[in-house]
Amino acid sequence: MLGQLIFNKTNGPVLQKTMDASMLRARAIANNVANVNTPGFERVEVTFENELRRALDRTRLKGARTDQKHLDIGRKDIGNVNAAAYKPADFTLPSGVNNVDIDMEMAKMAENQIQFNFASTALRGVFRKINSAIQAKPLPIQ
């Protein structure tokens, strides 16, 4: 109820999905790093940003769903955007025994952590604003 009335009208759902994707990506990177010496291992990657970008693009067409049987047309609802893991078709051998490039994984890990921290900080801001609206107290100027 409160979620539908307030939370879904803020940036909250986008940030929530971003944090979900970052968590999945952190697991994928941890898995790649753990298997850096495993012969024949295939790297796992996570896609999310492109789908999110498409879902947020207001210039794209979006079909209204007035019936349960309707198909989703065009732009997706943010609730239906999900991060997905996949194995890229990459046949190089940067580590000598598999396609995990440890430097790339470390860079992706740092990037992913910053993305997560950003989403977390922004989400905290969303909650502060909701709180201030409920309590009818203006936010202190920062």
Binding site: A26, V33, N35, T38, A85, I102, E105, M106, Q113, F116
Partner: protein, 169 residues
């Protein structure tokens, strides 16, 4: 070992650290026994090495490879793209870390060193020494150490993310 919940990322890195530690132990054993000519099984010491294997996670297979809600066939170019029934999906999609499948003994023959004064020398004066190349062991050790550090970094990163998530409240 079923791994689930928000802490599974930590367990993935921990499995990597554990495997690298075991690798390190095997290397230490090889270096300590680089000149050992007598073992319980008879003959010289044989080089030991770990065989690593990726662990798969049944839980993630279900989450990541769930069935599409709808199948469709595209018989006209104006049709909307809907996944066909035989849409390829990988069965073993996501793992949860690494494990040491086994510790093997190197089957390569022992190194023969001419030393007639050695008590284990044969009638021609040759001693069967362990099949250990110290330089290779040293490079393996550096690899294992670096991989351990990488896993430790991944662990710290995951831990910081979880702490940040908790502090959002």
């Amino acid at each position: 070992m079923p791994l689930s919940g928000i802490f599974s990322g930590l367990n993935i890195s921990a499995s990597g650290m554990s495997a690298m530690r075991m690798h390190q132990n095997a290397i230490s054993s090889n270096l300590a026994n680089a000149e050992t000519t007598r073992t319980d099984d008879g003959g010289p010491y044989r080089r030991q090495f770990v065989v690593l294997s990726a662990q798969s996670d049944d839980r993630d297979v279900r989450i990541l490879n769930r069935e599409p809600a709808l199948y469709g066939e595209q018989t006209n170019e104006n049709h909307l793209p809907i996944p066909p029934r035989d849409f390829p999906r990988d069965e073993r999609f996501f793992g949860n870390g690494v494990r040491v499948a086994e510790i093997r003994e190197d089957s390569r023959p022992p190194r023969l060193v001419y030393d007639p004064s050695h008590p284990d020398a044969d009638e021609k004066g040759y001693v069967a020494m362990p099949n250990i190349n110290v330089v290779k062991e040293m490079t393996d050790m550096i690899t294992a150490t670096r991989a351990y550090e990488a896993n430790a970094t991944a662990f710290t990163s995951m831990k910081n993310m979880l702490m940040t998530a908790i502090q959002t409240m």
